[in-house]
Symmetry: C2
Subunit: 251 residues, 2 copies
């Protein structure tokens, strides 16, 4: 299998290509190009003309904004399958935020002109993009709910649960995909505050070290934060509360 085919195999499983015919996917892919970035590399800047949007194939990308005092506010952290710059293609056609690689990562560059043209003639693609934007809105609602969770340890707990949402079983250890400084920035809190919050979570069975985090009991941690979260059950991947009202609750 050649390089192009292996890329195709990966990306066609993304929401972007959902329900597209093979011929459609192929003809789109000929217009897209693969771009590799190293750690902490500039991808695009706020205000630049949005000639491309990107689909993350691997690695992590940070979307952020900078104000007059060069304070950074994090918009989103993206990984495999996520799309960046899609919202910029409407109206003005400039990026509303800056993007930078967090790790070494690989992106698929999609020319916005091609995209705009294809929306017109391909209702399946248009439906996919609607789905992607609506999913993005849900994520933002989750993020803003996380912001309002009260104290820092709850916000951190919420992030850890979402980062480990792919894990099965009672508990486990996983690697933080980015440094604590970026995590703190993403949670809108000081790095020192995050550090203190993390040590407070020790009492709830959360240990950390070496860029890894161990959670003894997802459900227990979930009870700490998700109880205070207003997001509808089943809508947040991080939530790990027991649903069964007859079940024994040990805590």
């Amino acid at each position: 299998m050649n390089y192009e085919d292996s890329i195709k195999l990966i990306v066609t499983s993304f929401p972007f290509f959902k329900n597209l015919s093979d011929a459609n996917a192929d003809s789109l892919l000929t217009e897209f190009t693969v771009k590799d970035f190293q750690k902490n590399q500039f991808i695009f800047g706020k205000g630049d003309p949005a000639t491309y949007c990107y689909i993350v194939v691997s690695g992590w990308v940070k979307l952020f904004n900078v104000n007059d005092e060069s304070n950074i506010s994090s918009i989103q952290l993206l990984s495999r399958g996520d799309v960046l710059g899609l919202d910029a293609i409407f109206d003005d056609g400039v990026y509303l935020y800056s993007a930078e690689s967090v790790n070494d990562c690989r992106l698929l560059a999609v020319p916005t002109a091609v995209l705009k043209e294809n929306i017109r003639i391909n209702p399946v693609l248009a439906a996919n993009l609607l789905g992607i934007l609506s999913h993005r809105i849900k994520e933002m609602q989750i993020a803003s709910a996380c912001f309002l969770l009260g104290d820092a340890s709850r916000r951190l707990s919420c992030l850890l649960l979402r980062l480990s949402s792919w894990m099965v079983g009672k508990g486990g250890t996983f690697k933080l995909p980015y440094g604590k400084a970026i995590a703190a920035e993403h949670l809108g809190m000081d790095q020192a505050t995050l550090s203190r919050a993390l040590s407070r979570l020790d009492a709830l069975g959360v240990k950390s070290g070496n860029g890894e985090v161990t959670i003894d009991d997802f459900a227990k941690l979930s009870a700490h934060s998700c109880t205070h979260c207003p997001i509808l059950e089943g809508q947040c991947p991080g939530r790990r509360m027991k649903y069964d009202p007859d079940a024994q609750q040990d805590y």
Copy 2:
């Protein structure tokens, strides 16, 4: 002019109907129904099946979420031309938040089944919905930037500037479209905190009373909050800073 025509005249200027042919708009409108709500009336609840989405014709609607401890977190306050429940029509088809009227208001109920069918066959409508969702994402980015503005007086200042974005001239007086309790909820702060923040803004030429707010100098207030905001210039309607670098800055 009859009742239906007057409704049509209003709503066809909304983004939802942008670029639609007259015939298209007419055929859609026959499927939509006008619903009137009184103050503080229930519109739909989180988790309900999303059979309709709504377009606000007049008045204000509050989208919100409630957690286990019945704390309310505000998602959005909508007015004329805004669409609610649109993001619910993808995936599961349940509302992800609850909706309630803030004032007496009039909504246009759009059956989601009709909408889904028309997206398929009408690329102009699909493009309009993409634009609406992308606009919603921008608003959420502004809202979250507002949250991170530091202290409460800046957050309040940001809200006041956005509420008065339609006003021209150096300053002016406008009516708050909702009570201060709802404004505080929307800003994610305590009502008492809002009250104190408002009195601190007195020093910047902001007076309030009788549900009205007077801002002496939009640019001065803007300098207080927007300087710390990372949103791209021209993307936030509330921002009223002077752009001209040669201009005299009095403050």
